[in-house]
Amino acid sequence: MSGNEIVTDVVVIGAGPVGLFSVFELGLLDLKCHVIDILDRPGGQCAELYPEKPIYDIPAFPVVTGQELTDNLLQQIAPFNAEFHYSRMVTSVTKQEDGTFRLTTDADEVFVAKVVVIAAGGGSFMPKRPPVEGIEAYENTSVFYAVRKMEDFRDQDVVIVGGGDSALDWTLNLQPIVRSLTLVHRRDAFKAAPASVNRMKELVMEGKINFLLGQVSRLEGADGQINHVHLATDAGDLSVPATRLLPFFGLTMKLGPVADWGLELNDNLITVDTEKFETSVPGVFAIGDINHYPGKLKLILSGFHEAALMAQAAKKIVSPDERVIFQYTTSSTKLQKKLGVV
């Protein structure tokens, strides 16, 4: 046992709208939460996929954007002082002999909780893998979806693919240390900061980097090491010598490690009951888009309902001997005190 364990009542996996609202429902019942999310900020899909898009089916909000919904939820749950841990993925959940759960993250943290709430939506946001045959064999040796250590790229022949800020930023940042750098994009228009695009074009003019219009069609190499990236261009197949490839195609959701936690699954969704939204492992709950039960609708409002019922069951696990009286925030002074409004 390491001395750095974080001990808490509940760990909530996922800081999307449903994960955030579960903090509210759990908080009303005095349960202390730690929330973990793979993104670097709260909001889940609402923040990553459609922060500016209007949502029309949140009760009492005729229209609200994903970002506004997230901001409102953060304001609503503020009184409960949940602790947030961003940019990390929960890698394992293990039930211990005393009935508590031990969770580990890819940031080498250990959490010990009496209850685990999985509110992971469509799974973990991970880099999109371009549809290039055999690319998996080169991943993390010569194909990378992020730059963790710049030194891995020093004196290398680097091909960067994409037209967004990540592609442009890393083109500018890596150019001084690489042997050669080729930026590949399917068109001569970018969705990136104009200053970065201008700087990139200057570097092309100065002959310091190459820019090619095209898409990656094939990789050539052996034993995890690429040596050529083939591009499909208007002029046909083009082979670019390369020792590193960095595709920046944004993020997509994958179920990820959840699949290995011993929970009963139904077509990549976690099976739960509709009384407590508990999984096949007692003490582990799944709410929101990631769960499955007869009649399930993937709506944010369904997730909110699931959070409320889950919280009642979680309370019984954390405080089995405490008698819980169901109360309304409108009339209960006790609840109002928790919310800091009296």
Partner: protein
């Protein structure tokens, strides 16, 4: 009205479409391999299809937002569209599309 969808394995499916449905929704409803993770908000590009050249001119044009999203698929062709941006109508009865590899779950 019908649409003809060729999946990533090359198998052609004839699907019943309904007026006003998005082509993505028809494909998803029939259980073909389409991720469509943002649910039709033109935010993710995981409902990418190639429209048959004979039909490409009839399905409207890409919006700027759709064009930007096509930067994130890696297998764009001249006839690429996001199928959540094509609405079923009488004029599209018989539409032919092919699911892109980048739309797979």
């Amino acid at each position: 009205m019908k649409i003809h969808v060729t999946d990533q394995a090359g198998v052609e499916h004839e699907l019943e479409g309904l007026e006003g449905w998005r082509v993505m929704e028809v494909i998803r409803d029939w259980g073909l391999n389409i991720k469509a993770e943002c649910g039709g908000a033109c935010s993710c590009a995981t409902c990418h299809v190639y429209v048959d050249p004979d039909w490409f001119g009839k399905v409207g044009t890409r919006s700027d937002e759709e064009e930007d999203l096509l930067d994130t698929v890696g297998d764009v062709k001249a006839t690429s569209r996001l199928s959540c941006q094509i609405l079923m109508s009488e004029e599209l009865d018989g539409l032919k599309v092919t699911l892109a590899a980048s739309a797979a779950q």
